[in-house]
């Protein structure tokens, strides 16, 4: 059976050359039929070359990706389902192939040579090969490249990009399938929660009506917001950063930067300061024993003073020109 591989390769070559000689119309028919059964069409080295060979009177949109976990391409995995969704809803909306577009996917594992010949270093890359003949022929047969500059995109954004390059042709919209699991689980959780709260109402009511609980919730959210939590949320700042010497840096340099841990430290400091303020204002004057009260006053006052001094010293680290300080941390 030694001749089998060579025979196979010869026959494949022959088939490839045969296919290459197919007319543009035939090629589109073949691949459109393929895409009707499963889209995007999974391409390999030879099929990629065949599909994108000139002259062609149809458009090809190919995603060159690397799904294998070995490559650690997070964006490929994020964008993969969106790409599938886009091509599926396009093909379903245009079964007759009036828009004359074929969606394909080429994985790095199947098309190493294509990646090499195109000189691609990164993935994913989305190419749109415009038609070279026919009514919509473009001036240049070279593919148009889609920029993944701002991370993995939604199917709708890519859809509008594709649609822009296919004027005067139908653009079937992206149809997101109804996420049944999500709906059912929401319904189950919701009804379960309602039942549970109905049963446990006598126990929940005191918590809802407890002023202490509300006060705690309010204070915690105020502390979160005033310590820059929303900044972390919007800017996606790192939690901590290294200092380049193997250690950890807790506080970012500069007035407009911060780390996740840093804001938590600041929130904790604000919390301690506020707690000592509350204790001095509410708890201390309610202590009936004079000695215990005296000790409490001095302990809370000392905590407040040291904490405030520390806070100012940290702020001075962020804002170099700040001239004020309090004793322990000068």
């Amino acid at each position: 059976m030694r001749w089998l591989p060579s025979f196979l390769s010869v026959s494949l070559l022959a088939a490839g050359s045969l296919a290459a000689r197919k007319s543009s119309e035939e090629r589109f028919k073949t691949y459109h039929a393929k895409s009707l059964s499963s889209t995007p069409v999974k391409l390999g080295d030879s099929t990629y070359r065949e599909l994108t060979s000139t002259p062609r009177d149809y458009t090809v949109a190919v995603l060159l990706t690397a799904m294998d976990p070995r490559f650690g391409c997070q964006m490929c995995r994020d964008f993969g389902p969106e790409w599938d969704l886009l091509s599926r809803s396009w093909v379903n909306g245009d079964k007759a192939g009036e828009s004359r577009i074929v969606f394909g996917t080429l994985d790095f594992a199947d098309g190493r040579d294509i990646f090499m010949s195109l000189g691609l270093q990164t993935a994913p890359v989305l190419f749109l090969y415009p038609p070279t003949v026919g009514p919509h022929a473009a001036a240049s047969p070279d593919p148009i490249r889609y920029d993944f500059t701002s991370g993995a995109q939604q199917a709708e954004q890519v859809h509008s990009w594709v649609a822009r390059h296919l004027p005067d042709r139908p653009h079937p919209p992206v149809k997101r399938p109804i996420n049944w699991v999500k709906w059912i689980s929401t319904f189950v959780i919701l009804s379960g929660g309602l039942t549970a709260s109905y049963v446990a109402w006598p126990y929940i009511l005191p918590i809802i009506q407890s002023r202490t609980v509300w006060a705690a919730v309010t204070l915690i959210s105020i502390l979160l917001f005033t310590s820059g939590h929303m900044f972390n949320h919007i800017r996606n700042v790192p939690y901590v950063a290294g200092d380049g010497k193997g250690g950890i840096r807790y506080f970012a340099n500069g007035f407009q930067n911060q780390y996740g841990l840093e804001t938590q430290i600041v929130a904790a400091m604000y919390g301690i300061l506020a707690l000592s303020g509350i204790s001095l204002a509410i708890k201390v004057p309610r202590i009936s024993d004079p000695k215990a009260q005296g000790v409490a006053v001095f302990v809370w006052a000392a905590i407040l003073f040291v904490m405030y001094s520390f806070l100012i010293s940290i702020f001075r680290g962020k804002n170099a020109g700040y001239p004020f300080a309090l004793p322990p941390f000068m």
Binding site: D147, T149, W161, R164, R211, T212, W214, A215, T218, L219, S221, I222, L223, F225, T226, S227, G228, H229, M230, F231, H233, I234, R235, F255, Q256, N257, Q258, V266, M269, Y270, L273, A274, G277, I278, L280, A281, I282, K283, V284, P285, R286, I287, S288, D289, P290, Q293, G294, V297, F298, A301, L304, F305, Y308, L311, F315, K318, N319, P323, F324, L326
Partner: protein, 749 residues
């Protein structure tokens, strides 16, 4: 220790009339301090209007004073947004200009000859004095402590969070809006406490004034219904609430609809729907309340409350359906981006590009509020002790104010009043407890029993921590320690505020100050130099193209028509300018000709190391242009393959050929010895051969090269295109240079 003079002082303080005189004197002094601390910029520089937006407000005020109110109301401005123009009278908040106009005419009537510019410059400090008094009134509604109001007034007067937008010369809507905000809240609390229609009507009146002054009125429009809603949920519906809310809503909405810019928005947009919804819900509750008092059956009451809850849910559903069907406009982008924080960056880059719309990092909070930031939670906690209707207001305001301030730097302004009030409550509580001559006698016996009994009753309604009875502070040392520490903190606060105001918030940004090596101050006055040049050397209707940041200043100082300005109402027009700036000359030139541009103005900070220049803002121009013409402008092309934004020799071709790059660095290398040209802002060495220009020519460059103005060339006399004409002038003779002859034609790429 109670010496006679101390007694005398204490008894003098007790007399009621002495106290009120003292209070008035202190309030007047606080207002004076609030005004004085805002005058740094006038003393250091001169009486000048600051920044960008104030220049438009100033120009509009001059128009109002010169032409009268009705002309102002119908003002169509053909000197901005060329060639579109702007219906200025219908697209601005007139409150600020009308206020200055009224002051101007009042002073004229008193035969005090005062320049309108000085009124505009000093309006913000003057109103900050009033804000301090309004904060005093609002705080006095919250607590019985005598000192709280005065402390709140003092905090409000000097807190940098408010000073940042109200120094002398900062003639912006916020200058009067914060006073109106605080005062409207005061009137609302007053109306709610008394259930009075009069106070409710006054509240509506000031709400109307607020709507006429600032787009931030939506904050009130959402906060008051929210307060009412929280009160209803707490089971605190009362006729007081009904009367005050209904009066405020009905009159306030009518008042707000008188402003052309607002018009029918209060019944059409989502921002205003909470107010309308709560209005309807209150009517329903009032009806149910009436029915309930007539039929005292318990089951029927349950049915009523279920009915109320159900109709509330139905109302919400109807609102959602009406919004999706398009009867009610959804949340406008600016408001929506407050909730969905990623929205603006994707869909409205023009909003995301403004620096004051960025989220707030924690140092900014501390910088603007100093110790108030940790006294704030203490004050909010103290509000939970009594938790009357007005305290609920503080809690709700505190929560939402701090959320908004965290999302947008600019909204620190709306947070500051509640921080000042809450912190004043905290400090005054501390002072009331520790700064008193009275000390309790230590009780022997067993007070725990009575305490426990009281505790069980108190736990149900109050906080756990206040279950024991208040005793007081025994030791003198404890008192001295706390009062001493508080004094230190308060003094530090004053020092901090003064330092921040003088260092960070008192720069007009039209005039820049720097220090020479010997420590003396050096004024950099390039902006005014350039605008003066425009005013004196160009035709009166010469159109100036610049990035939109400088539109108001060009209109105000140079008095020349502009293409785009800071009123960013037409995104496409701004994108057109962005495209002209970020494209090749051959593309830009037709755009400029089509818009009749005579001069192009760019801001360049490379020589001086000035960070606010156009090269640093350039990516936003590209982004905004890309939003409209994604095929012609691509942000990717301005980054090197390694993803860097560079301006030196390694910059991308697109970058080097863009009009903005060429205008910024044209002839710049001639300042330096060959090959040594440095961009001091970005700290990079520039290529030896600088860019060349063919369709525009340098007309003016200011002393420190901050402003560069270029004249757009007319079509070539010989019908050549500009590139070959310029090449011919430089001495590169081309073979086919003279071949083309024909009518002068505008090339459109």
């Amino acid at each position: 220790m109670s010496a006679d003079p101390l007694h005398a002082l204490a008894s003098a303080g007790k007399a009621k009339s002495t106290r009120s005189v003292l209070r008035v004197v202190i309030l007047a002094l606080i207002a004076g301090a609030a005004i004085a601390s805002r005058l740094f910029s006038v003393i250091r520089f001169e009486s000048i209007i600051h920044e960008f937006d104030p220049w438009f407000n100033f120009r509009a005020t001059k128009y109002l004073v010169a032409h009268g109110f009705y002309k102002f109301w119908d003002w169509f401005d053909d000197r901005t947004w060329h060639p579109l123009g702007r219906v200025t009278g219908g697209t601005l908040y007139p409150g600020l200009m009308v206020t200055s106009g009224v002051i101007y005419h009042a002073l004229r009537a008193l035969t005090i000859p005062v320049d309108i510019r000085n009124i505009c410059v000093l309006l913000a400090p003057g109103f900050s004095g009033l804000t301090a008094i309004a904060a005093y009134l609002l705080t006095n509604e919250m607590t019985t402590s005598n000192s709280a109001g005065l402390l709140a007034a003092a905090f409000m007067g000097i807190a940098p969070g408010y000073i940042s937008r109200s120094v002398a010369g900062s003639y912006d809507n916020e200058a009067i809006a914060i006073f109106l905000l605080v005062f409207t809240f005061y009137l609302w609390i007053k109306a709610l406490k008394q259930g009075s229609m009069l106070w409710g009507a006054l509240c509506a009146l000031f709400y109307g004034y607020m709507v006429a002054s600032w787009g931030g009125y939506a904050f009130i429009t959402c906060l008051l219904p929210l307060h009412a809603f929280v009160l209803i949920c707490m089971g605190r519906y009362s006729t007081r609430l009904y009367v005050s809310y209904t009066t405020w809503y009905a009159l306030g909405t009518l008042a707000s609809m008188q402003i052309p810019f607002v018009g029918f928005l209060p019944v059409k947009t989502s921002e205003h729907m909470p107010a309308l919804g709560i209005f309807g819900f209150l009517q329903l509750l009032a009806f149910l309340d009436y029915v309930r008092s007539a039929i005292p059956s318990r089951q029927f009451q349950t049915f009523l409350w279920v009915f109320a809850g159900g109709s509330f849910g139905l109302g919400l559903a109807a609102l959602a359906i009406a919004t999706s069907a398009g009867f009610i406009a959804p949340w406008s982008g600016r408001f929506y981006s407050l909730w969905d924080t990623g929205y603006a960056k994707i869909h409205i880059p023009i909003i995301a590009s403004v620096s004051e719309h960025q989220p707030t990092a924690w140092p900014a909070f501390f910088f603007d509020l100093n110790m108030l930031i940790w006294l704030f939670p203490v004050g909010v906690y103290l509000c939970f002790q009594e938790l009357a209707d007005q305290h609920v207001f503080i809690v709700v305001y505190a929560l939402f104010g701090s959320y908004f301030a965290g999302v947008m730097v600019r909204l620190m302004l709306t947070l500051t009043p509640v921080v000042c009030v809450a912190a004043a409550i905290a400090v005054s509580t501390l002072l009331d407890i520790y700064l008193t001559a009275k000390s309790p006698k230590p009780v022997e016996g067993q007070p725990a029993d009575g305490g426990d009994g009281a505790a069980k009753k108190a736990v149900k309604s109050g906080l756990k921590s206040t279950s024991k009875p208040l005793i007081g502070v025994y030791g003198l040392y404890s008192k001295v320690a706390i009062v001493g520490a508080l004094t230190v903190y308060l003094l530090l606060f004053v020092l901090h505020c003064t330092w921040v105001t003088s260092n960070a918030y008192s720069s007009p940004s039209v005039v820049l100050a720097s220090r020479l090596p010997d420590g003396s101050q050096h004024i950099i006055d390039d902006y005014r130099e350039a605008y003066q040049w425009l005013r004196q050397n160009t035709r009166e209707d010469a159109k100036i193209m610049s990035w939109w940041d400088y539109g108001y200043q060009i209109g105000g100082m140079a008095d020349r028509p502009t293409l785009v300005d800071n009123n960013t109402w037409n995104n496409t027009h701004i994108a057109t300018v962005g495209k002209a700036m970020s494209s090749r000359e051959e593309v830009s030139y037709p755009i400029m000709r089509q818009h009749e541009v005579d001069y192009v103005l760019v801001v360049f900070g490379g020589l001086l190391g000035y960070s606010g220049d156009d090269i640093n803002k350039f990516l936003w121009m590209v982004r905004i242009a890309e939003g409209i013409w994604p095929d012609e402008v691509s942000e990717r092309a301005f980054f090197t393959p390694r993803g860097e934004y560079r301006v030196d020799g390694d910059a991308t071709e697109t970058m080097k050929n863009s009009l903005m790059y060429k205008m910024s660095y044209y002839n710049y290398n001639k300042l330096f010895p060959p090959g040594q040209a440095m961009d001091r802002m970005r700290g990079v060495r520039l290529p030896e051969v600088g860019p060349s220009l063919s369709t525009i020519e340098e007309a003016f460059t200011s002393e420190n090269w901050i402003i560069r103005i270029y004249k757009v060339k007319d079509l070539d006399n010989l019908g050549r295109d500009h590139a070959s004409a310029a090449a011919f002038d430089r001495g590169h003779k081309k073979k086919k240079a003279t071949k083309k002859r024909g009518p002068r034609l505008l090339r459109v790429d």
